[in-house]
């Protein structure tokens, strides 16, 4: 296999694995082995791809040897490759956690195949070079998420799952309409080709197309004011499912915003619209989190708040800003997922995620408390954790452009994040439970796979902080590639 063809592995292998997993349904151990093997191979291929892209520049594969812009192209630039590596690692960790958690993959024979198609959809969204294929990737991912979020079919899941599917389908309808309008205006859906042809489109049409795509991806990324579906639906699913959604799905929306805004609708100066949305997203998300009395819901509101930071970096339209966004996404995927996994362990022992009905776990499960504390401080952005590096980069990029308002808002949101993390800490790990639940496992040892997967992700977030220098350099190169798409165009279209 030539190195160019590595790019199909993260998409095709999980799909094949899903098919195989369906064939052997009923043999849970076989399904587990298939899932773990496929996701490990995908991670290995993703790392090889990242090395390849880092050394050789943008890799493009014309599927079926049809040249762009006629055929379908898979493209891996540095940004895509970084995202594929981080998402593959997270998918593997959460998969191990799901195997370890009682009553998760045994809930249904369909957990394994659907989880693998989710992995394929996420990878395709990162690697596709074609707007219509991006739509298909979103659908693969969303269809899998619809099944996963309602797996179990409890009353609460059906109630919130219905809202989730309706919102998802509405956004998809908007997306496909946007693709149709883009095609009508330019006659192509290949993104490299589009980035050139859109320059000739009248500025009003261009602005309308840009806004339509922003709304579409805004729903998926849960930016203000399109976030309301997220805190309702995510907490009702099983923990590993919520964790992978929290870590990856909204970030795929952010990826799409970054890709389309930088490649198709580039701007020379900071976008007031994006910065306003970013600020509102940060504040509304964090204020919503403070009001909640349930650990899972607090964390769900924080997903929204942190999306604001990612949009802030893109809105600045500078290499420093976009680099900070890329670093921040990497940090968020790992930290957010690990926080949800910690929440799963708390629920396992305490029987609930309700803050009033938990308490004193710092003494009963000190290791769990340490895992939470490390992730929570990183989320709040305290030095020396990875969140600090990301936020520092964003604030530096903001002050470079003299955008003081967004800098102030982001600092305020950080402070409030710390406040709501201390609320979880005080509720879960300190004090005594007011009205403990009987259903939890109590002081029984944690399932080793659950604890191991969580610890691995928390370690990964510490490694991100320790290796912040090289990772940040990589993010800066990726950002430079996004803001100057010459290499991307050449790789896809030829010179």
């Amino acid at each position: 296999m030539s190195t160019d063809q590595l790019i199909v592995v993260p998409v095709v292998l999980p799909l094949l694995g899903a098919a195989l997993s369906m064939v052997v349904h009923g043999h849970r151990w076989l399904q587990r082995v298939i899932g773990a093997a496929v996701l490990s191979l995908v991670l290995a291929a993703a790392i090889a791809l990242l090395v390849e892209v880092h050394q050789q520049g943008v890799v493009a594969l014309h599927v079926g040897a049809w040249p762009a812009p006629i055929g379908i192209t898979l493209v891996a630039d540095l940004f895509s490759a970084i995202m594929v590596v981080v998402s593959a690692a997270t998918l593997l960790a959460v998969f191990v956690y799901a195997i370890g958690q009682p009553r998760t993959d045994s809930l249904s024979h369909w957990f394994h195949p659907v989880y693998l198609t989710l992995a394929a959809g996420v990878a395709l969204a990162f690697l596709t070079g074609d707007l219509f294929n991006l739509f298909v990737a979103f659908e693969i991912m969303l269809m899998s998420s619809y099944v996963l979020i309602t797996l179990g079919g409890s009353r609460d899941q059906i109630r919130s799952g219905t809202t989730y599917v309706v919102i998802g389908l509405l956004a998809s309808t908007l997306f496909i309409s946007a693709v149709g309008l883009v095609y009508a205006a330019t006659g192509t859906v290949d993104m490299a080709d589009l980035s050139m042809r859109l320059e000739d489109v009248p500025v009003e049409v261009r602005a309308a197309l840009g806004a339509l795509l922003l709304v579409t991806f805004g729903v998926k990324a849960a930016i203000f004011p399109l976030f309301f579906w997220l805190p309702d639906s995510y907490p009702t699913a099983r923990t590993p499912i919520t964790a992978i959604f929290a870590g990856l799905l909204t970030k795929v929306g952010v990826y799409a915003i970054v890709r389309t805004q930088t490649l198709l609708f580039p701007a020379d100066e900071p976008s007031l619209l994006l910065l306003t949305l970013a600020g509102a997203t940060m504040l509304v998300g964090v204020l919503g989190a403070i009001a909640q009395g349930d650990m899972k819901r607090i964390l769900s509101f924080h997903i929204i708040s942190q999306i604001g930071y990612m949009i802030m970096g893109v809105g600045l339209f500078t290499v420093a800003g976009v680099a900070a966004t890329i670093f921040f996404i990497v940090h968020q995927i790992v930290v957010k997922t690990s926080l949800f996994l910690v929440n799963g362990l708390v629920e396992f022992h305490g029987g609930t995620a309700n803050l009033r009905r938990l308490g004193g776990w710092a003494h009963r499960k000190p290791f769990l408390a340490v895992l939470f504390l490390l992730s929570a401080l990183s989320l709040a952005g305290l030095p020396p954790f990875s969140g600090f590096v990301g936020k520092l980069g964003l604030i530096e990029a903001g002050t470079d452009e003299a955008r003081w308002v967004i800098v102030a808002v982001s600092l305020l949101a950080s402070l409030l994040t710390l406040f709501s993390m201390t609320k979880i800490w005080a509720g879960v790990f300190w004090g005594a439970a007011e009205d403990p639940v009987a259903g939890g496992a109590g002081d029984a040892p944690s399932p080793p796979l659950m604890l191991g997967a969580t610890a691995a992700l928390v370690t990964a977030s510490i490694v991100i902080a320790l290796a912040a220098g090289p990772i940040y350099d990589l993010a800066e190169q990726a950002a430079a590639g996004l803001l100057d798409p010459t290499a991307y165009r050449t790789a896809v279209l030829g010179s």
């Binding site: 079919g153 059906i158 309702d232 803050l355």
Partner: protein
Amino acid sequence: MIVTSALVVGVLFAMGTYLVMQRSLTRVIIGLVLLGHGANLLLLLAGGPPGNPPLIGEDGPLADPLPQAMALTAIVITFGIIAFLLALAYRSWVLTGDDRVENDVEDRRIARADLDPFDDGRPT
């Protein structure tokens, strides 16, 4: 011809939007179906004016096959998701005996809570 089709797209979108905002899940689903039809027609229109022959035919401009392929893909995807949504609606009807879309329960509770940071509105 293209004006008529554009009007049809607009009407489909308008009706779909109205239905999606209803409380009854059945109406929401019908609304989504109409929105999907609107989007598919829009895709078809993106390929240029109707009336041109397909790949093989007389001389002159040919119909663009790409938007038709895209519409076909979109139809299949919408079909699948609508089927799934109908299954959810049926399950919801089995569980609650009603097809109203309910509010976020926890949200309501928090709206009732006072300013004590640990009060979640549950009766004590």
